[in-house]
Symmetry: C2
């Protein structure tokens, strides 16, 4: 039976993950969960973000479900780098998966786009590019100061994520992959991405492809989001594009994500895209839908596509039944979703 | 009297710049213009994009007005790098200025946003960052291939563009500057940008400031674009954000831009953001509004703020009077705008 590490984290994180676990247990009775106390509170108490011993323990789980980490009392970047990015790199989570869907019942900001018209997934590279941390600063705080950031890209790293994107496209109805980069300016890395894309494409003759520069893609995500099916792109471009994707589908409050090691040599990590929302923490009013959708990605990854689909359908019914603006109780939503998914 | 080099370029470029020049001549009679034949046609004829001799001639003008370069027959990147980026670097056009306004009469894609509610300008750095071209490829086309791209940032380059942004904010009503970067991940360059921003801010006590990560900014440009006044950011982030900005204000068809050397040691270059649109070239139906708005930026840069304002007002009236979807004739629009701006 699957073993899941639960990192509730800060603010509303523990509240929403509790509902996600409730739902997972409803569709996969007997699943084992272990709570880990990581995030702002632990950082303040011990000065530690992710001790090596905890990292090594986490490595033994099948998957990690995370709520949200961070609050205004922690210097920016500390938890992001020390926990989220560290897991992505240490657990080789090279597929950063972000589905975007305009759900029935959800009013997106785009006047002309109806629900059902947006349904794509961004496959963002998770272990390379500008996230490598390469770079430096000289002559800090003087007029002569310079700073560099280096994007590191390997054929190995680019090829495996592009293959994953094609494989995902093959399992979808439209079977289309859009490569996004900036080949006209970033000729070195862009060339590697484009060459690798062409090479992989040959192995997936039933998948159609297109290429877009990142600036054009950022525009089309707003003006024509329906055109996308699977988008594959580098780490930083993916970071930006997935937030646009969340915006056009009703906000990060509904967006799920998975940081995935497809071979399952290491645990993958699933989390809602929203933050810890300290302003409403502890009130039991946070919407757990994004956490529950992340749980659905987790179930799919662990080889339970039917359970995953039932969870997604439960969320779809929940959203379709909602009255816009009506208050909700976190636990009630979790109960409803668990009941709907179980049946 | 001002001397302007006109690079009509490809596709609809020459058609729209002709109208922009018509308008400039109406508000600044006696202005001298010289046409330069650069773009796809010249590239095919001579293999050259921007010969040094032409570059040196252009250097003697007060400003350059460009239509659009590129068409499907030229390998991607050749004209962009050989002409547009070369001018930005050779003419030290470090302020890449992109105003975004939802004009009365223009229906943007955001259902809840009314015209007048979006009115901001992005000050994008134009001579540094990932556009430096630094980087390389090893073991091309083998499994061992790696590619790097290096973002180069200097205190000199960052400070001057941030100062420009603050100075622009001071001349606007809301007097607010938003710095956009990704300091939680790009700690080296992000640190330089953040430190420099803090230092410059002290010299502009009447300007309010905020900081946003680029992913959050990309989202807020869609969900809350009214919050921005002046946005300052690096070269690549600016490339992406300005296309989102164009999207939420009715598309790149209306967007103007200037690549500016504020000290006027070199000519600045002004161009509509749209491309050469080869599909409608030569039919006289291209909308010259973005080119005319670029001409307004040119006039402002050359020290004619009143003329610039008259051109902008003429465009505002033109757009407000339009029937959505009604056909237009490029030259008629130019005539109307010239007449309105002259009076
Ligand atoms: C918190 C931050 C490091 C992270 C990223 O940049 O990847 C976040 O924006 C995300 O998209 O998961
Ligand atoms: C054509 C390209 C090189 C250019 C850029 O990336 O700056 C364009 O996208 C722009 O925004 O002016």
């Amino acid at each position: 039976m699957a073993r899941i590490a639960v990192v509730g984290g800060d603010g509303i994180g523990p509240e929403v993950t509790a509902q996600a676990i409730k739902v997972i247990q409803a569709v996969l009775p007997g699943v084992e969960t272990v709570d880990y106390d990581l995030g702002a509170a632990r950082y303040h108490r011990t000065g530690e973000v992710l001790p090596d011993s905890v990292r090594d323990e986490l490595a033994g789980f099948d998957a990690i479900l995370l709520g949200a980490v961070g609050d205004p009392t922690v210097p920016p970047g500390v938890l992001e780098r020390g926990l989220l990015l560290k897991m992505r790199f240490d657990f080789d989570q090279y597929v950063n998966l972000r589905p975007s869907k305009l759900w029935p019942g959800v009013a997106g900001p785009l006047g002309a786009v109806k629900s059902g018209e947006i349904d794509f997934v961004v496959v963002r590279e998770g272990t390379e590019g500008l996230y490598a941390g390469a770079g430096g600063v000289l002559h800090r705080n003087t007029p002569a100061e310079i700073a560099t950031e280096e994007s590191l890209n390997t054929r190995f790293g680019v090829e495996r994520v592009i293959r994953d994107a094609f494989a995902r496209a093959q399992r979808r109805e439209r079977r289309k992959v859009t490569l996004v980069h900036k080949t006209n300016v970033l000729t070195h890395a862009g060339g590697l991405w484009a060459r690798t894309f062409e090479a992989v494409k040959a192995d997936f003759p039933d998948v159609t492809t297109e290429y877009q520069h990142v600036d054009a893609a950022a525009m089309f995500m707003v003006t024509a989001p329906a055109r996308y099916d699977v988008v594959v792109t580098d780490n930083l471009f993916g970071d930006i594009l997935t937030d646009i994707a969340a915006a056009v589908t009703g906000g990060i409050g509904l967006a799920a994500s998975g940081c995935i090691n497809p071979e399952r040599r290491f645990p993958s990590m699933f989390e809602p895209v929203h933050g810890s929302a300290p302003d409403i923490a502890g009130e039991g009013v946070a919407d757990p839908v994004a956490a529950v959708l992340s749980a659905s990605l987790l179930l799919d990854h662990l080889g339970h596509p039917d359970a995953a689909a039932r969870v997604t359908e439960a969320v779809a019914s929940e959203l379709a039944a909602r009255t816009p603006g009506a208050p909700l109780r976190t636990a009630d939503v979790g109960d409803r979703l668990a009941a709907a998914a179980a049946s």
